[in-house]
């Protein structure tokens, strides 16, 4: 029996992803280092969240500074569902994710209709307003003292594999959202909503769909986080720096690229463990400096850097095939080109 893949899936890339996942799935049995195990688990969640942020911020160009709202809602709904209904983990995460996705639609549906930066500004408000309401809504979130969840013995260890599956699914979805025909539609919406609508792309429906997917995936991450730490608190779950961290992961890795944000999440975790942990009072400044530097010098982040190096080494393999450039105009031409490559 021959497995038939959709034409936009490149077998080599699918196999590559499967191999990486298989290695990561077996890795804990080999290294047995608990610290590294936990760090990897959280990295996977970071990867899933950064990718989900990128669907909206990168593929559609609607940067969100308030995704922590959905993270927190996913987390608290999951916790409440687990506590009161006794649902098992996965269904509880799904419920949390769906509620978070619906919440995103409530405020996102109207603001996504507008051109320009309205959505981004609204997200700052959503993040703050949700955090405030959550902090004072004692009966739901437990107020500033938070919520505790029962913790089963070995659960934290096994959650590594759940996190891996979540990250792999998010990566698969990133791939599908970019390479499938729908990816082209998203690209069209990002470039010019009116032109896209003229050629029959349903901008409204697709934007809402991506927003829901992004919000619910972040919500599932929040639910996972709640189950993983078995204690959550509104100030942390809805925190502004949480929203910023996903922006940063996306920007470092390459905003709008398929796997860039995953890379960004890995770099971010390394950075946090090695730099920010020692200078906690500088973390906002470090985040800001990174944002400024990446946007100024390599708007596509690490992916852009790789593309550039790759392009120089093997021009015949670069995106768009060999490009013959007049020597004098190289600098001027290559800048817009990287922009088009995403």
């Amino acid at each position: 029996m021959k497995l038939r893949l959709a034409p936009w899936i490149r077998p080599r890339e699918a196999v590559g992803l499967l191999i990486v996942c298989a290695v990561l799935a077996l890795a804990p049995l080999l290294h047995g280092n608990v610290y590294r195990h936990n760090l990897l688990t959280l990295t996977f969640i970071g990867i899933a969240a950064a990718l989900a942020w990128n669907w909206l911020g990168g593929y559609l160009g609607q940067v969100s500074f308030g995704h922590a709202a959905m993270f927190g809602i996913g987390g608290f709904v999951t916790a409440r569902v687990e506590l009161s209904l006794g649902l098992p983990l996965v269904p509880a995460w799904i419920v949390g994710g769906v509620v978070a996705g619906l919440f995103a639609l409530i405020w996102g549906h109207p603001t996504l209709r507008l051109r320009g930066p309205y959505f981004s500004i609204a997200t700052i408000g959503v993040g703050e307003a949700t955090r405030l309401v959550a902090t004072y809504w004692d009966s739901f979130t437990g107020g500033s003292s938070g919520l505790s969840l029962p913790m089963q013995g070995n659960l934290k260890y096994t959650m590594y594999w759940y996190a891996l599956v979540l990250a792999a699914l998010a990566l698969g979805a990133s791939y599908a959202l970019r390479r499938s025909p729908m990816g082209l539609a998203l690209l069209a919406i990002k470039s010019d909503v009116d032109a896209a609508s003229d050629v029959g792309v349903s901008a409204t429906r697709l934007q809402d769909l991506v927003l829901f997917l992004s919000g619910s995936t972040i919500g599932v991450c929040g639910g996972f986080y709640a189950s993983y730490f078995s204690y959550i608190e509104p100030g942390d779950m809805f925190g502004f720096d949480r929203s910023i961290s996903w922006v940063l992961m996306g920007v470092i890795g390459g905003i709008g690229t398929i796997a860039g944000p995953a890379l960004g999440a890995i770099i971010f975790v390394i950075l946090r463990e090695n730099l920010i942990a020692y200078y906690p009072q500088l973390y906002l400044g470090i985040y800001g400096l990174l944002l400024v530097l990446v946007i100024l010098f390599e708007p596509l982040g690490l992916t852009g850097l790789f593309l550039r190096v790759f392009h120089r080494a093997r021009p015949d393999l670069a995106v768009g095939g060999p490009v013959v450039e007049p020597p004098a105009a190289t600098a001027a031409v290559s800048a817009p080109k990287t922009g088009e490559a995403k």
């Binding site: 320009g116 703050e128 405030l132």
Partner: protein
């Protein structure tokens, strides 16, 4: 009924500050099509500058206002020339400028945190607690002064934009930068100037605000949002539109205290923003570009 009048006057006085605050954001957006996310950072920086000059050197905030605004004007030009200027214009540049200026804001916040710690500060002057009675209601002298200065700033701006060559150039660039190049207006210089002007206004508003509210390094986030509400409500750059929109926001905020718990008032501006975006995305008075 007396309470009603008190709240009404409080709202009007607050609206003066809000319109100055919002005008800086609207000016930059109207001319450069860029949302200055560092607006909140400059509001906060203005507040700290006023507080520091008063606290350390004993300079009255209304005296230091001119100095702080001028310095912030320079800072704005530096930010434009050094950073914003390098970004591509158009759709791709929109996202990039958002992220870039957001990064600048984070840096400014961190610097303020390092310099002044995260504690709340208040600017107290000898007249902070003075009040005069107007028609049975007690009015804080400082609030009236803030209102007066804010109105004066807006009036001067309006005159500059409508009567001077530079002001007309700014409005022309807002309408069509390409045509401006054709008739010899130095568009890049107007952009830098406008960015400086908007930044200066933010700092001025921050300084005025510091005499009314306690502030810390994260001061400015809510103010950025409020400014944006006013800009969306009032349309771009219209002084009258901005003033009316600021008044609406202030009225809604002040009277919301009567019906909802105090901690939720911070969310009022946001709810208003979403409502306006849904009902009248072009603003209350349609899209007007500066003047």
């Amino acid at each position: 009924m007396e309470r009603f009048f008190e709240l009404l006057i409080a709202a009007v006085l607050l609206a003066g500050l809000y319109s100055t605050m919002a005008y800086g954001l609207g000016l930059i957006y109207g001319v450069l099509r860029i949302v200055n996310l560092n607006h909140g950072g400059m509001i906060m920086a203005g507040a700290y500058a006023g507080w520091y000059l008063h606290h350390a050197l004993g300079i009255d905030p209304y005296v230091s206002l001119l100095l702080v605004t001028a310095v912030a004007f320079g800072v704005g030009i530096v930010i434009y020339r050094g950073l914003v200027h390098r970004l591509p214009r158009g759709a791709a540049g929109g996202v990039q400028s958002l992220l870039l200026l957001f990064g600048v804001w984070l840096i400014v916040r961190n610097v303020a945190y390092l310099l002044f710690t995260g504690n709340d500060q208040t600017l107290r002057t000898s007249y902070s607690t003075k009040a005069i009675a107007v028609g049975g209601a007690l009015l804080s002298v400082n609030r009236i002064a803030v209102f007066g200065v804010a109105v004066a700033i807006l009036a001067i701006l309006h005159l500059v934009l409508t009567r001077t060559y530079v002001g007309k150039a700014i409005r022309a660039v807002a309408q069509n930068p390409d045509s401006c190049t054709l008739v010899g207006i130095p568009v890049e210089r107007i952009y830098a100037l406008t960015f400086g002007l908007g930044t200066g206004l933010a700092a001025a508003a921050g300084l005025l605000g510091s005499t009314l509210f306690p502030f810390n390094p994260s001061f400015g986030a809510a103010e950025l949002l409020k400014s944006f509400v006013v800009v969306v409500l009032g349309g771009l750059g219209s002084v009258a539109g901005t003033a009316i929109a600021a008044l609406i926001l202030a009225l809604v905020e002040v009277f919301a205290i009567l019906v909802i718990p105090a901690y939720l008032t911070a969310a009022v501006g946001f709810v208003l923003l979403v409502l306006v975006l849904v009902v009248r995305p072009g603003g209350l008075f349609g899209q007007r570009v500066l003047g």
